[in-house]
Symmetry: C2
DNA sequence: GTCTATATTCAGATAGAC
DNA sequence: GTCTATCTGAATATAGAC
């Protein structure tokens, strides 16, 4: 990109600031200052703060399309699942404010709201397929009836564990590690149903050692 | 209360509106209109919106004191646990915005921030004691090493499940049922470690039938 | 203790020059 | 495409009468 492409820079800067400080606590003046541009320039690229939010949400929808395309394939299912978990961790990290500040900024435009609603359903179905594939491959000894509730809990934990962790520590943690912690915690949803070797393999493959160490009581399980 | 006690009425009305619409989206004008009093009267009772927030947070701290006093006693441990879960459901329902809008309103005053931090630790320890008591009574067949991770997941699910549920349904659900759904979902954290009779007993004791029916795939487990 | 009227502040947005 | 200058509206808060 030889051209500075201010529009993209605005989106990236806004995304970072919204994640750091809450959507409602980032003023357009602050955003312009962060970018080193005039506030008026912001309104040339986005006709309102809301339009900027919608552009970010569109980027989120696009990111999830890639994540939702990850499926258990013919090869190593555990490797496929690791790729899904890595994508989910990144998704929660990069778009944290979208999950967190939803009650603040109200509804997305109709078209996007439908997409977001569809993402929940698709994510739920995707994880169910992975659980069944892991079961078929002998990594996860889960009764069929439990798959649904476990999928729900996994999604809740991956998405919201970072918020609890941040509050418990009071001080601000490294944002990247927060989403990893959600991935580690979600492994606890399975209990002993997930084979210890599979659990250890995922932790090593995803480089979750630091997150495991900070997860209350988790080290004992993985030892 | 023969006296109308406007101060208490303000707290109650604000708590309800904050829970419904997000702290930052409730104006003092709206709050005054909801109460049928003049906006100026608000400032007589609370010198700032922030002071009102602090008063509500103090009430939350007080509520948790009662909930944290619930312990597994000499009698039926399952009944004690049911009481704890009922108190947690009510806590999440009544003070929902405190959990949800935390990133918006920033830090509480130092004294209260310390209390809130202590509440997490105390809640975590409390639930651990309950899990061990349930195990001792033969209701929960959980390995000791898993208790820590399972406590963490239970707290995450009870607190945040309502937010996911609301988003998945898009339309606004009955707020009371949302927190019940978190209680139902947390039962899935245990998998088969919690004896089916104990699970069924808790569901019946806490009148969670409706929440079970709406929890994806949960009915199959409890059948 | 409650009201009405008014002040302050500032975020979000516009207009128009360059 | 970017800037400076300015406007608007709304939300929080104050002053002082009743």
């Amino acid at each position: 990109m030889a051209k500075p492409n201010t529009r993209q820079r605005i989106i990236e800067s806004a995304l970072r600031l919204f994640n750091e400080k809450h959507f409602g606590n980032v003023t357009t003046a602050e955003l312009a200052a962060d970018l080193g541009i005039a506030e008026g320039n912001l309104w040339y690229h986005f006709k309102s703060k809301r339009a900027l939010l919608d552009a970010i949400a569109a980027r989120y929808v696009e990111y999830t399309r890639g994540r939702l395309a990850i499926e258990p394939g013919a090869g190593d299912v555990l490797e496929d699942y690791a790729r899904l978990l890595a994508a989910l961790s990144e998704e929660v990290r990069a778009f944290r404010f979208i999950f967190r500040d939803r009650a603040d900024f109200g509804e997305f435009p109709a078209s996007m709201a439908a997409a977001v609603g569809g993402i929940y359903e698709a994510s739920w179905a995707q994880m169910g397929r992975f659980f069944r594939a892991l079961k078929a491959a002998g990594h996860l000894d889960i009764p069929e009836a439990w798959i649904g509730p476990l999928v729900t809990n996994s999604i809740i934990v991956i998405r919201f564990a970072p918020e609890l962790f941040r509050e418990m520590r009071l001080a601000e943690e490294d944002a990247g590690r927060l989403s990893d912690w959600g991935i580690v915690q979600h492994l606890a949803c399975f209990g002993d149903w997930l084979r210890p070797e599979a659990r250890r393999w995922l932790i090593e493959r995803l480089d979750l050692g630091a997150a495991v160490a900070s997860a209350a009581g988790f080290a004992a399980v993985t030892a």
